[in-house]
């Protein structure tokens, strides 16, 4: 693996340009990645911490969501504890078939995320199902639809899940 700066060719097709953020936006993004307090007026509580008015905080938050700087704001649910199934799976897709396999895999509503990655295993997707049992069924259906073996990599232990990107 050679060390090289990211260039345009490495960016996903859906990446937008880096957003223009002012100091208050940055404080807001950093603070709200940590979680909203579960108090009666939570936005007012966070606004007070950041020395903003509640109205300004709500306006900025709405603008950051509309601009796609934030992809979501709300409760982050733990799929397994909601009773569902969740796994990470990978395929080694021949280059000539790649686009057809993208279509076949993405057609499954259980595929929540799908990324192309630079490896012989070049397609990595997350399956989220209504029940844990459904995971194996969907894997079998994907194998049938693509003719490729699915590498199933369910988590065996979770050490950390906390995306925090300081800005």
């Amino acid at each position: 693996m050679t060390a090289m700066p990211a260039t345009a060719t490495h960016q996903p097709a859906t990446a937008g340009p880096a957003a223009e953020l002012d100091a208050a936006d940055r404080r807001l993004i950093n603070r709200l990645q940590d979680g909203l307090p579960l108090v009666a007026a939570p936005y007012a509580a966070v606004a007070a911490e950041l020395d903003l008015s509640e109205g300004e905080l709500l306006y900025r938050l709405e603008r950051l969501l509309e601009a796609g700087v934030l992809s979501r704001f709300g409760p982050m649910y733990h799929a397994e504890r909601l009773g569902g199934g969740l796994t990470l799976a990978a395929l080694a897709v021949p280059e000539r078939d790649f686009e057809a396999v993208v279509d076949a895999v993405n057609a499954f509503p259980e595929v929540a995320h799908n990324y192309r990655r630079e490896h012989a295993l070049n397609m990595w997707f997350v399956l989220a199902t209504e029940t844990p049992e459904r995971i194996q069924e969907v894997i079998a259906e994907i194998e049938a639809a693509t003719g490729l073996p699915v590498f199933n990599m369910p988590k065996e232990e979770e050490f950390h899940v906390r995306l925090h990107l300081p800005v």
Binding site: G16, L38, V39, R72, H113, R116, E158
Partner: protein, 182 residues
């Protein structure tokens, strides 16, 4: 597993009212001064009940937290590497917990190997402004793992093929009917 950082998982932690709150907030929390009241109104619930139920769900880990999810790329984090490590099984639990505390690591899991094709059992997602930054983070991880690690790779994402996020279907306890496929 007694050493797990994950408490035992029970799917029966949700009653029908909790489930209605989950469904009502999957797309996001309303951006109004009283978000709990706004969630509760169509469900016939008061603000305090919604707040207390979400607090309980957060307490037991059904809700990780109520937070902003940033778009990595729009924040300038254009280098996103899934690092995978072949770590001694006897030491992976202790080391995995240490890896999880390193800067740049967002998600860190133990996953099964698929020998001989896939010898890696520890996954850590790294995020940086450049690949050089991700590779410095990976070096720190490599140093921490030391001789317990036999091999590793960094798999950069080169394209987002789908990103819809997790969705819970509407009916409690019911398997979802397959949606029509092309």
């Amino acid at each position: 597993m007694s050493v797990s950082t994950c408490p035992s998982e029970s799917p029966s932690l949700l009653d029908a009212t909790d489930r209605a709150i989950v469904l009502a907030t999957q797309a996001g929390l309303p951006l109004v001064p009283d978000p709990w009241g706004a969630v509760g109104r169509p469900l016939g619930l008061g603000a305090e009940e919604v707040r207390a139920r979400l607090a309980r769900m957060q307490e037991v880990g059904i809700v990780r937290r109520i937070a902003a999810v940033p778009n990595h790329y729009r924040l300038g984090y254009v280098a996103n590497g899934m690092t995978v490590w072949d770590v001694d099984d006897a030491r992976i639990v202790r080391l995995g917990r240490e890896v999880a505390t390193l800067p740049g690591v967002s998600h860190c899991y133990r996953r099964p190997r698929h020998l001989p094709d896939w010898p890696y059992n520890l996954f850590a997602m790294l995020h940086g402004h450049t690949r050089e930054e991700v590779e410095r983070q990976a070096e720190a991880l490599r140093a921490l793992l030391g001789e317990a690690c036999r091999d590793h790779r960094i798999l950069y994402s080169s394209r987002i093929l789908k990103k819809t996020g997790l969705r819970l279907a509407g009916r409690p306890g019911a398997g979802r009917k397959p949606e029509p496929r092309r």
